[in-house]
C-alpha cells in the first residue's frame, strides 16, 4: 500500500467518521468513468484489477482472508497474494486459470467512481470484448513487457478504436520481470505507436507498470525514475471526459414505450440519446415526419413533489408529451424539428460476427437499432479486415470473430445516424430468427440510397408531358467499349444526325464528366462503380425531362451497366458495344494512354491491368473493323428511330 493512497483513504475515512453528511454530498457529486482492460492471455489483467481494488481499499477483511487462503491453495504467485483470484469469478475459470467472460468491477476514489469491465484475452471471446468496450469511456490495453505487441494486442486495439473509444492507455505490464528496462519499454511503445497510427489511433498514454508488484499504480515507482508520467490511478482519476459532448448535438429520443394511463394523458417514454429538450421546442417524429411542439417533460415526482422538468438532456430517461395528437409509437424517433436524423433502407456497415454460424448473405435477420426492430439482409462482404495487418481481404462470408464491411438492406426505412455521430442511432445488433442468438454487432457508416431526408415530391408536369412537348420518346444510348475504341467519335456523329432531325439530345462524355460532376473520383474499381452510378442518375433525370441521352463511358463492369439499365423504364436503355479489339485501340492510342499504361505510369487502365467485361447481349454491337464511324452512327440512329 503506497503512502499517498493510504493518506487519501485515510482522509476519506476521517470525513466519513466526522461528517457523514458532508461525505455523502461529496460522493453524490462524483463523476463516473467506465473503462475496460484488455490484452492477451496472461498479460495480467485480473491481477491489475485486483490491485486497483486492493489499493482503493475496496477489499473487505473477510474477502482478504479468503484471498490469502486461496492464494496459498490455488495461487500462482507462491506465498504472495494472487490478486487475480479476486476477480476470476467462475469456477471454470479458476480451474483453467483464464478469464472467459466479461466481469464488471466497481471501485471509487475521492474523485471518481469507476466501473471496470475485465475483458477476456482469448481470440474466441472477441464478442465479450466488444460487449465490454461498447459502454466504456476509456481502454487500458495491457502488454506483457516480456512479449511486446502481440496479435491479440492488435485485435483489441483495433476493436477499441472501431467501437469509438478515444481515451487509450497502453500499460506495459510485468516491468519487474524485465528489470524495469527503459530501452525495452521504449521499443515496445515505439512498436505499438507504429501499429496504432496505421489504424487511426493518433493518441494514447503509455506507462510502465507492474500490477503484481504495484509499480506506477497509485504512486510513481522508484524502479522507473526515467518515467515522467503520472501513475495509472491518477490518470484514471483526472483524464478529461467529454461527458457533455452528446448534449451539444441535435435532440434525438428513440421512443421506448407509449404511456397512456387514461384518456387525459399520452406521453412518449425514452432515453434521450443526444441533445437537450425543453417545453415549447418544435419536434419532428420520424420516420413519419409529422411535427408538433413539446408540451411537457414528465418525470415521477421526487421528494420535492415536482414532476415536470424545464429541461432534459442526453442521458436522462423521461416521458415527453406533445401539444398535438400525432401518431407516435415504439421505434419512432422524436427529434429536433429543424435538424432531424436521416431515414434510409440501405447502408454501408462494419460487422463484427459473433456467432459460430457464419454470415449467410441474403438471409433475413432481425435487426435491432435503438428501439427499432425489423428484418434486414446483408450482401456478400465487400471485404474482411485482417486485424493483424489491417489488410482488406476478399471474403464470401464472415465467420466467428471476423470483422468486415458489407452492404445491409432493411425491409423498411429506418431512422439512423452514422455511428461516429451518434452511437445509439448508429449501432445495431443482428439476431438469428431461428435460434434468437445475437449473431453480429454492427455500425452504420452511411446510407447508400439517397432516400435520406428526401421524399418524392409529386410534380404536376409529368415525364410523359415533357416527352410529348419534345415530340419524341426519351432514351439512353449507352456506349461502352475500350479506351480508344471510338465511342466519343461515333456518339458525337449520332448526336449531330439526331439534331438535324430536330431531336432533343444531350451527350454525356466520360472525360467531360470527370472534369466536373465526378472530379472527386479516381480509377479504382470502387470509384469506377460510383462514376457510372452518378452518370446513370443524371441520365435518368434527363430522360425524365424528355431527352435522348447519349453517354460515352468505358463502363467496364457488367453489374453497373445492368444497374443503370434497371433505373430506366423498360425499352429506354439501349446498350451499344463499340467492339474494337484491344490491339486496334492500342495501335490508335489517340491520347497516348496505352503507352503510359504499358510503361507502368498509369494504374488501373482498362484492358491492361483492369478488366473489361464485354456486354453479353447488347442492343447494338458495332464492329469497328467492319464499318466506318459514319456507317455505325447511321445504324444506331436507324435502330433508335425504329424503336420510336
Amino acid at each position: 500500500m503506497s503512502a499517498t493512497a493510504s493518506q487519501n483513504s485515510y482522509q476519506a475515512q476521517e470525513l466519513i467518521a466526522k461528517d457523514i453528511d458532508a461525505y455523502l454530498i461529496q460522493h453524490q457529486h462524483k463523476s463516473l468513468l467506465r473503462f475496460i482492460t484488455c490484452g492477451s492471455v496472461d498479460d495480467g489483467k485480473s491481477t491489475l484489477i485486483g490491485r486497483l481494488l486492493y489499493d482503493s481499499k475496496m477489499i473487505f477483511e473477510d474477502q482478504l482472508a479468503t484471498l490469502e487462503a486461496d492464494s496459498k491453495r490455488l495461487g500462482t504467485q507462491g506465498q504472495e497474494i494472487d490478486f487475480a483470484l479476486l476477480v476470476d469469478g467462475l469456477a471454470a475459470e479458476r480451474e483453467q486459470g483464464i478469464t472467459i467472460d466479461v466481469a464488471y468491477r466497481f471501485f471509487s476514489t475521492d474523485k471518481r467512481k469507476f466501473i471496470v469491465a475485465d475483458t477476456p484475452g482469448h481470440e474466441q471471446y472477441t464478442r465479450n470484448m466488444v460487449t465490454g468496450a461498447s459502454t466504456a469511456d476509456l481502454a487500458v490495453i495491457l502488454i506483457d513487457a516480456r512479449k511486446g505487441v502481440l496479435t491479440q494486442t492488435r485485435r483489441h486495439s483495433y476493436l477499441v478504436h472501431l467501437i469509438g473509444i478515444r481515451n487509450i492507455v497502453l500499460a506495459v505490464n510485468k516491468m519487474d520481470l524485465i528489470g524495469y528496462d527503459e530501452a525495452k519499454y521504449d521499443a515496445i511503445v515505439a512498436d505499438y505507436r507504429g501499429f496504432a497510427a496505421s489504424i487511426g489511433i493518433t493518441d494514447f498514454v503509455a506507462m510502465p507498470i507492474s500490477g503484481f508488484k504495484g509499480d506506477n499504480i497509485t504512486t510513481r515507482s522508484a524502479h522507473t525514475p526515467w518515467y515522467t508520467g503520472v501513475p495509472l490511478m491518477e490518470h484514471l482519476e483526472t483524464v478529461v471526459l467529454d461527458v457533455t459532448a452528446d448534449q451539444a448535438k441535435p435532440f434525438r429520443m428513440p421512443v421506448q414505450w407509449v404511456n397512456r394511463p387514461n384518456l387525459d394523458f399520452r406521453g412518449f417514454s425514452g432515453l434521450i440519446s443526444s441533445g437537450t429538450v425543453r417545453p415549447g421546442d418544435a419536434i419532428r417524429v420520424l420516420p413519419s415526419g409529422k411535427t408538433s411542439t413539446v408540451s411537457r417533460i414528465v418525470i415521477a415526482p421526487g421528494p420535492s413533489g415536482r414532476s415536470d422538468l424545464d429541461i432534459a438532456v442526453a442521458g436522462q430517461s423521461v416521458t415527453i408529451c406533445f401539444a398535438d395528437e400525432i401518431d407516435c409509437s415504439r421505434g419512432d424517433v422524436i427529434a429536433s424539428a429543424g435538424d432531424p436524423p436521416q431515414v434510409a433502407d440501405q447502408f454501408e456497415t462494419t460487422l463484427v460476427w459473433m456467432s459460430d454460424e457464419a454470415l449467410l448473405p441474403g438471409r433475413a435477420y432481425w435487426l435491432k437499432l435503438a428501439t427499432q426492430t425489423l428484418t434486414a439482409t446483408v450482401q456478400h462482404p465487400k471485404y474482411q479486415i485482417n486485424v493483424n495487418t489491417m489488410e482488406h481481404l476478399a471474403a464470401k462470408t464472415l465467420e466467428l470473430n471476423a470483422i468486415g464491411v458489407a452492404t445491409l438492406s432493411t425491409d423498411r426505412p429506418i431512422v439512423f445516424e452514422a455511428y461516429v455521430a451518434n452511437r445509439q442511432l448508429g449501432g445495431f445488433i443482428l439476431i438469428d430468427k431461428i435460434s434468437n442468438a445475437t449473431v453480429a454487432v454492427g455500425m452504420l457508416h452511411f446510407s447508400l440510397r439517397r432516400s435520406q431526408n428526401v421524399h418524392w415530391q409529386a410534380l404536376d408536369i409529368s415525364r410523359e408531358r415533357h416527352a410529348k412537348l419534345k415530340n419524341q420518346r426519351p432514351a439512353v444510348l449507352w456506349f461502352t467499349g475500350l479506351s480508344g475504341a471510338g465511342k466519343s467519335t461515333i456518339a458525337n456523329l449520332v448526336e449531330k444526325k439526331l439534331s438535324r432531325m430536330n431531336r432533343h439530345t444531350f451527350l454525356l462524355d466520360g472525360d467531360n464528366v470527370r472534369h466536373g460532376l465526378n472530379r472527386d473520383l479516381g480509377f479504382t474499381d470502387a470509384d469506377r462503380v460510383e462514376n457510372i452510378r452518378r452518370v446513370g442518375e443524371v441520365a435518368k433525370l434527363m430522360t425524365d425531362a424528355g431527352l435522348i441521352v447519349i453517354t460515352a463511358f468505358i463502363s467496364p463492369f457488367r453489374a453497373e451497366r445492368q444497374m443503370v439499365r434497371e433505373m430506366m423504364d423498360h425499352g429506354e436503355f439501349i446498350e451499344i458495344h463499340i467492339d474494337t479489339p484491344l490491339a486496334d485501340a492500342e495501335a490508335r492510342d489517340v491520347k497516348g494512354l496505352y503507352k503510359k499504361a504499358r510503361a507502368g505510369k498509369l494504374a488501373n487502365f482498362t484492358g491492361i491491368d483492369s478488366p473489361y467485361e464485354a456486354p453479353l447481349e447488347p442492343e447494338i454491337r458495332v464492329n469497328t473493323r467492319e464499318m466506318t464511324a459514319d456507317q455505325a452512327a447511321q445504324h444506331i440512329v436507324d435502330v433508335l428511330l425504329l424503336n420510336e
Binding site: 460522493h27 462524483k30 473477510d62 464488471y104 467512481k113 421506448q256 414505450w257 432515453l271 442521458g315 415504439r330
Partner: protein
C-alpha cells in the same frame, strides 16, 4: 447549455431504460420482490419508469414463511401504495413437508426459494422476471448479463451468454424460455443506500439499529423474531442493539451489533466496516463457488 449528470442520475436513467425495454419486448413480465433494500430501490425505479401509470406488471414474492414480521408488513404496504398486484407464492411441497431452516439446512433454501421460484414462474407463465441482484455483490454475479437467459428448465449457462452491447438488449426467446433481468446490475451497495437516502424510499425498519432479542448460532447473531425459534436448554434471548445489513429468512440472517439508527449513520457504519455484505448470509458459506452453482440450478 449543458449539465453534468451525477453517477446516480446516470444509474437511474439506465435502470429505467432497462425496465421499459422489458415491458415493451416481453409478453408477461413480473418483478420479484424480496422486500429488502435492493427490492425497495428496484420497485421505486419501476414506479418512476412508468409514471403516471402504475408499473404494468405484478410483484411476486416467493415466500418461505420464515421472513421477519416487519418484512411482511412493508411488503403489503408497498403493494397497496404502488397500485400493483401482489402475488405471494408458497411451495406446497415444502409446506406439506414442514421444511424449515432449523431442521433442514440448505434444503430449506432449495425448496422454498429455488424450487418455489421455478414453480411460481411456471404457474403464471411469466417470460421475464426482474431481480434486484447487483454485480458488486459476489464474483459470479459480476459476470452476469443484465438480460440473463434461462432454459425451459430454468438453468443458466454462463458460457453461452448473449453479447450485450451499448444499451441494446436482445429479448427474443423460444416458447418456454425466460429471461431474468437485473435493472440495478451496475449499482453498488453505497449507491443503493445513497439513493434510498436521497429519494426517501421506505425500507424495512430492521435496517436501523434498535434493541432486539438475540441469540448466537453457528457464528451468526440471530434475532428471535417469533416463537418458532427453538431455544436450546437454558438459552435466554439477550436484548442487544442490533441491525441488519441484509434481510432474508430470520433464522439464517445474521445481525450486527450497532447503534446506527438513521440512514446517514447506517451508511457511515457501512463505509467504516471491514467485512463484506453477504457474510451475514449463511447460504454462501455452504461450499466453494456456492452462488454460481445455485444460479446454474435456478436460484435467483
Amino acid at each position: 447549455m449543458s449539465q453534468t449528470l451525477t453517477h446516480l442520475e446516470r444509474l437511474e436513467a439506465e435502470s429505467i431504460h432497462i425496465l421499459r425495454e422489458v415491458v415493451s419486448e416481453t409478453e408477461r413480465p413480473v418483478m420479484l420482490y424480496s422486500v429488502g433494500k435492493d427490492s425497495a430501490v428496484m420497485l421505486h425505479l419501476a414506479r418512476k419508469a412508468f409514471y403516471p401509470s402504475p408499473p404494468p406488471f405484478p410483484l411476486l414474492h416467493v415466500d418461505t414463511t420464515w421472513k421477519f414480521k416487519a418484512m411482511y408488513e412493508l411488503r403489503d404496504r408497498m403493494a397497496r401504495e404502488s397500485g400493483m398486484e401482489l402475488l405471494v407464492y408458497h411451495n406446497p411441497e415444502a409446506a406439506a413437508r414442514g421444511i424449515n431452516p432449523f431442521d433442514h439446512g440448505s434444503l430449506h433454501t432449495d425448496m422454498w426459494k429455488t424450487e418455489g421460484l421455478k414453480q411460481a414462474l411456471d404457474k403464471y407463465a411469466f417470460d421475464a422476471a426482474f431481480g434486484g441482484a447487483r454485480r458488486d455483490e459476489e464474483k459470479s454475479r459480476a459476470k452476469e448479463r443484465i438480460f440473463s437467459f434461462r432454459s425451459v428448465s430454468h438453468r443458466w449457462d454462463p458460457k453461452h451468454q448473449r453479447p450485450e452491447v451499448w444499451n441494446i438488449y436482445n429479448a427474443r426467446k423460444a416458447k418456454g424460455e425466460s429471461i431474468r433481468v437485473f435493472p440495478i446490475s451496475n449499482w453498488t451497495e453505497l449507491d443503493i443506500w445513497q439513493y434510498i437516502h436521497l429519494e426517501n424510499i421506505p425500507i424495512v425498519p430492521l435496517y436501523f439499529a434498535a434493541p432486539r432479542p438475540t441469540v448466537w448460532r453457528n457464528g451468526l447473531l440471530l434475532m428471535v423474531d417469533d416463537d418458532r425459534f427453538p431455544l436450546r436448554e437454558g438459552e435466554v434471548p439477550e436484548i442487544k442493539s442490533i441491525r441488519f445489513r441484509t434481510l432474508g429468512c430470520y433464522p439464517l440472517t445474521g445481525a450486527v451489533e450497532s447503534t446506527a439508527a438513521t440512514l446517514p449513520e447506517v451508511i457511515q457504519e457501512m463505509l467504516l466496516t471491514t467485512t463484506s455484505e453477504r457474510q451475514g448470509r449463511a447460504i454462501d458459506h455452504d461450499q466453494a463457488a456456492s452462488m454460481e452453482k445455485k444460479k446454474q440450478e435456478g436460484y435467483f
